[in-house]
Amino acid sequence: MKITAKITNYLDGKLSGKELDVFLQEVKNNPELSELLSLHKEVDAAIKDKDAQRMREKLDKAYIDFIASENASHKQKKTATGIIRLKKYIKYAAVIALLFSGTMYLIITRNKLSPNQLYSIYYQPYETDIAIRSTDLEKSKILEGVYLYQQGNYNEANKNFSEVVKSNPNCMEAYFYKAMSLMELQKYEEVAHSLHIILENDQSAYTTHADWYLGLCYLKMNKKNKAIRIFSIISDSTAHYYSVKAQELLEKIN
């Protein structure tokens, strides 16, 4: 510890006179000491550089957002192609539907489903394609949390994201993944709370998914009217990724 004390005192500017001369001479004659002194200086500089640390955290978050938007846009394109194909078959289906319209009406009204039933049909855990290595876990609380979520460790993931939002209340990614973890833990009141925060922030890339999952959350909480309101808004917006699903779900709601 003596060397550490000497180096620390030197870097603090607390060495002077003969003590300083002796130390500098030692550094000049001892390459290992010289290297150790450089390392101390570099480590201090790294710890003090809060800007760089903050930038890295922002870049981690920006990457997660970018992947999320990319996934949403890929799925929208797939849905659009599906819709075009569907329109062809609708022409033929319309003829058959006319013939069986009376019977079809009876079948549909008999097959209305409860909110709970609809939830179990339509709820799928949110899938994230973000590739995370175990060596990334120390880099960022968010990446660590996403990794835990991907591993199905929802309790720990929720703890991680809760810590993130405590120190950064504007981190929408953390609120979203917190909500997804809580969904798996079946803590629906807390899910709704987190998703509302996202929806109040119009700029978030997660708004689309937050709408849908909030609707499902209300179904599970048996708040049918609130669920219907949300799914109606989603289905009315043809550009919304979940528009078709929302329409389908509304037709089945009892």
């Binding site: 390392l39 201090d44 760089a52 930038m55 890295r56 990457y63 970018f66 290595r133 990334d136 880099k139």
Partner: protein, 201 residues
């Protein structure tokens, strides 16, 4: 990207603007990812290399050393390309069949030096954050310029001697952990003298 847009993105980067950072990802990430994945890399590699390229740009911009002679997109791609070639060389992967696609430019000689400094600093911070909360706090307080008496009060220690000893122990522990880490040894040994310059493809 126009010069005007590039300037505002760089300004946004220096000012930690989330929208600017997001736009940089939207416009510049895919070419880097495409290049790396076509040349023996994976998504994780692309993610890391892109982040390191941005950190180089950020460092230069902060120190007023950024003089773009091409678009920001080309510049970022060129840095990422250089960093990836360096990685391939480290992994001793064959780069004979390199697939080039995007336009790139020669980057400044200090690019690798800045990258090395940044990655070393990231390693140091990673180890710092693995110290106990108390150790992190005591080291940070002194680096923020707080005096021994003030730190003793904040940390609720009994004496200034105890504060000093604690500080030295925490710092020594941090330095020893870093020195033993294989990544630090690798970074220390990297030397980019004339003999180690990457061949020109």
């Amino acid at each position: 990207m126009t010069v005007h847009v590039d300037d505002s993105l760089i300004k946004g980067l220096i000012n930690d603007d989330n929208k600017a950072i997001s736009q940089i990802y939207s416009t510049c990430y895919n070419p880097v990812r495409s290049y790396i994945c076509k040349n023996s890399g994976e998504e994780n590699d692309a993610r890391d290399i892109f982040q390191e390229a941005i950190m180089v740009v950020y460092d230069k911009a902060k120190h007023n050393q950024l003089n773009l002679t091409c678009s920001l997109k080309t510049y970022i791609f060129s840095i990422a390309r250089l960093l990836w070639l360096k990685q391939l060389k480290k992994k001793q992967k064959s780069i004979v069949q390199l697939k080039e696609a995007e336009e790139y430019t020669e980057v400044e000689e200090d690019t690798i030096e800045i990258y090395n400094k940044n990655t070393k600093h990231a390693l140091f911070v990673k180890h710092f954050k693995q110290l106990s909360k108390d150790c992190q706090k005591i080291i940070s307080l002194f680096l923020d310029g707080k005096g021994i008496d003030e730190v003793t009060i904040i940390m609720n220690y009994n004496s200034t001697q105890h504060t000093k000893n604690r500080r030295y122990r925490c710092k020594k522990s941090l330095i020893n952990t870093i020195r033993k880490h294989p990544d630090y040894k690798k970074l220390k040994n990297e030397n980019y003298s004339e003999n180690n310059k990457l061949p020109r493809w």
